[in-house]
């Protein structure tokens, strides 16, 4: 039961204090994250895409456990079983090559599971690192403004004016192949998008009175930026991050397809497509098509989730 407040001693205020300061039984406050999750759940396409995406993530994570063979363990792969059609049986009759085998006799289903793991890992990791870098740059530019803002944003402009694929190609041509180098190239072409995005939303927040009020509380700059400005920029940022993950996966696949991304020892989906490309014309479509299909499903499901997030996080679009 609400207790009478010790401050309700002023008699002329009792008439209104009933509505203003008395305890009304409010519904328990809902955090913005839970609210978003609940609103997201109301729309079927995104829910299906999210469920499918989760399935893909689980498959990728569990690849070593569920794949019929380790496609890169030479003891398990025999060249004799190469170019088998989907559904064919292995020579010892114990495994079925559900999606066929490639030119070296690897089980395509296993190769795709392992490839998914690499594609997803690199895409997510590069988007998150770029997110961190871009957020710091964007917040700094918006918070300090003036010359700091001008310098940082011109660097961003230069970065964004160069075609992504070109920057990535040049970088990898110079640096050489490798997971770390591909990651670096992907971060380098993505951070500027995040920086501009964060700076845009943070500038709007910067001019709101609550930031001034927080300054008046004596909060240090880093706390103002990370605890006050950043959470208020989350909505557009979540959407950008999702879209950038899809972009990063596609870009990595493109580079690997062109043979400059990942080395043959770390085959992502793009590399699998590339490896099977020679066989497409001789009617062994499965070596290229199935990894391609996996890539499309992955990117499309991420995009659908991102699209729905954009709608859900913007009350003006969520009708």
């Amino acid at each position: 039961m609400p207790q009478p407040s010790p401050n309700t001693m002023d008699m002329n205020a009792t008439a209104v204090s009933g509505t203003d300061s008395a305890t009304a039984t409010l519904p328990p406050p809902e955090s913005p994250w839970r609210l978003t999750a609940r609103r997201f759940g109301r729309r079927l396409p995104g829910v299906i895409a999210a469920a499918f995406l989760m399935l893909l993530v689980l498959l990728a994570l569990a690849a070593p456990l569920i794949a019929p063979q380790d496609p890169y363990d030479l003891a398990q792969v025999t060249i004799v079983e190469n170019e088998r059609a989907p559904g064919a049986l292995s020579d010892d009759g114990r495994t079925t090559f559900l999606l066929g085998t490639d030119g070296a006799g690897r089980d395509m289903a296993s190769a795709i599971l392992y490839g998914l793991r690499i594609s997803l890992g690199i895409g997510v990791a590069s988007a998150l690192v770029a997110l961190a870098v871009g957020t710091v740059v964007g917040l700094t530019a918006a918070y300090f403004g003036g010359k700091v803002d001008a310098v940082l944003m011109r660097i961003v402009d230069v970065q964004l004016s160069l075609p992504t694929i070109l920057v990535a190609l040049v970088l990898l041509a110079v640096l050489g192949q490798g997971v770390d180098k591909t990651l670096l190239a992907l971060v380098l072409v993505q951070w500027a998008t995040f920086a501009r995005n964060v700076r845009g939303s943070a500038m709007v927040e910067r001019n709101k009175e609550y930031i001034e009020a927080a300054m008046g509380q004596g909060l240090p700059a880093h706390r103002l930026m990370l605890r006050h400005m950043l959470p208020n920029c989350m909505a557009p940022l979540v959407v950008t991050t999702t879209n950038q993950m899809a972009n990063a996966i596609t870009l990595e696949a493109t580079m690997s397809f062109l043979g400059i991304g990942l080395p043959q020892t770390e085959p992502s989906l793009g590399l699998l497509i590339s490896n099977g490309f020679d066989y497409v014309l001789s009617h062994q479509y499965w070596i290229s098509v199935f990894p391609g299909l996996a890539l499309v499903l992955l990117v499309v499901s991420i995009s659908v989730v991102g699209d729905q997030l954009r709608v859900v996080l913007n009350p003006k679009l969520d009708t």
Binding site: N7, D10, D20, P29, E209, A213, G216, G218, R227
Partner: protein, 320 residues
């Protein structure tokens, strides 16, 4: 030694159209535990005074000269680190619009807890206790429950109470309130004003209350500053300034208040409008609107001291 001594403070804004002098030689003092009211129209420099005192001026605004001494310490020379220590702990501010001055995505309890945690070492339980007690003191019932609310779940009056709780939570020596009741209903205004008075009286905190409504400060303030076009044109103990204004502008402000005797009559208004700060008339800025103005008024009037009162006028009103 007074708690706050402001001496010939000049704040300027360097804009493309020229230098705007938003504060022109503003001086006043505020004693511990007292309430100083600053009254003026829009553009008279009230808010700029508050922001100058808090060192929250943003470019292109800057303090050009003058001194602000807080407990004997010259704040003009204070480092950003020193400011972080002072703000929210020794000097706190309450803003005009409670819809805007709270972070929309943080629970109010977390916002108040932050103010405590940033300035003192305390355990989670101690902080929660302090937040609860601050909310209770501003008249919020069931504070333990309310702590978990987001600002949008509260009414305007409640939010302003939260903002005030945030200001008093570290028991500061000085609270600067920039029109804290302007955005509220008249009834809530009365409550907030009353509670503010109680809080200040009981805690010994000094209060700088900025408003455009002279009737709001007459029961609250001990001392009153009237500002016009960036200058303090009259100041003194509140009952003297309101009872016997010496500056014609103060007289005009008081005459334009509605009261019981003026029922049914046309309300007085000062002729003309506040001059733009970029094109101030030479001398007394009020002269073009003043019925007592003469040729002498084209020179800036210096401060005349008469007992506890000060005013800037060549033709002051006589004692009635």
């Amino acid at each position: 030694m007074a708690l706050l001594e402001v001496d010939r403070l000049v704040t300027e804004f360097h804009t493309g159209a020229g230098v705007v002098r938003a504060l022109d030689n503003v001086s006043f003092t505020l004693e511990r535990g007292k309430v100083l009211g600053i009254v003026g129209e829009s553009g008279s420099g009230k808010s700029v005074t508050a922001f100058s005192l808090m060192n929250l001026l943003e470019a292109p605004g800057r303090i050009a000269s003058g001194s602000i001494r807080f407990k004997g310490e010259e704040l003009g020379a204070a480092s950003p680190t020193r400011w972080s220590q002072l703000r929210g702990d020794r000097i706190a501010m309450v803003f005009q619009d409670p819809m805007m001055s709270l972070n929309p995505v943080m629970r109010i309890g977390a916002q108040l807890a932050e103010t405590v945690a940033i300035h003192a070492r305390a355990s989670r339980a101690q902080i929660d206790e302090q937040v609860c007690s601050a909310l209770r003191r501003v008249g919020i019932a069931a504070p333990a429950e309310r702590m978990r609310a987001y600002p949008h779940e509260l009414s305007g009056g409640m939010r302003q109470r939260v903002a005030i709780a945030n200001a008093i939570i570290n028991a500061p020596d000085l609270i600067i309130a920039d029109e804290p009741t302007t955005a509220l209903d008249v009834t809530i205004q009365g409550q907030i004003l009353y509670e503010m008075k109680q809080l200040v009286r009981s805690s010994g905190t000094a209060l700088l209350w900025i408003t455009h409504d002279i009737s709001l400060v007459k029961d609250l303030a001990d001392h009153l500053c009237v500002m016009y076009a960036g200058r303090v044109i009259e100041q003194g103990p509140v009952d003297q300034v309101i009872g016997q204004p010496r500056h014609p502008y103060t007289r005009g402000l008081i005459d334009s208040l509605p009261h019981a005797a003026s029922r049914g009559k046309r309300l007085y208004s000062i002729p003309g409008a506040t001059p733009p700060l970029l094109a101030l008339p030479p001398g007394c800025a009020f002269a073009p609107r003043c019925s007592r103005a003469s040729a002498a008024c084209s020179v800036t009037p210096q401060v005349t001291v008469a007992g506890a009162r000060e005013f800037r006028c060549f033709h002051p009103l006589d004692r009635p």
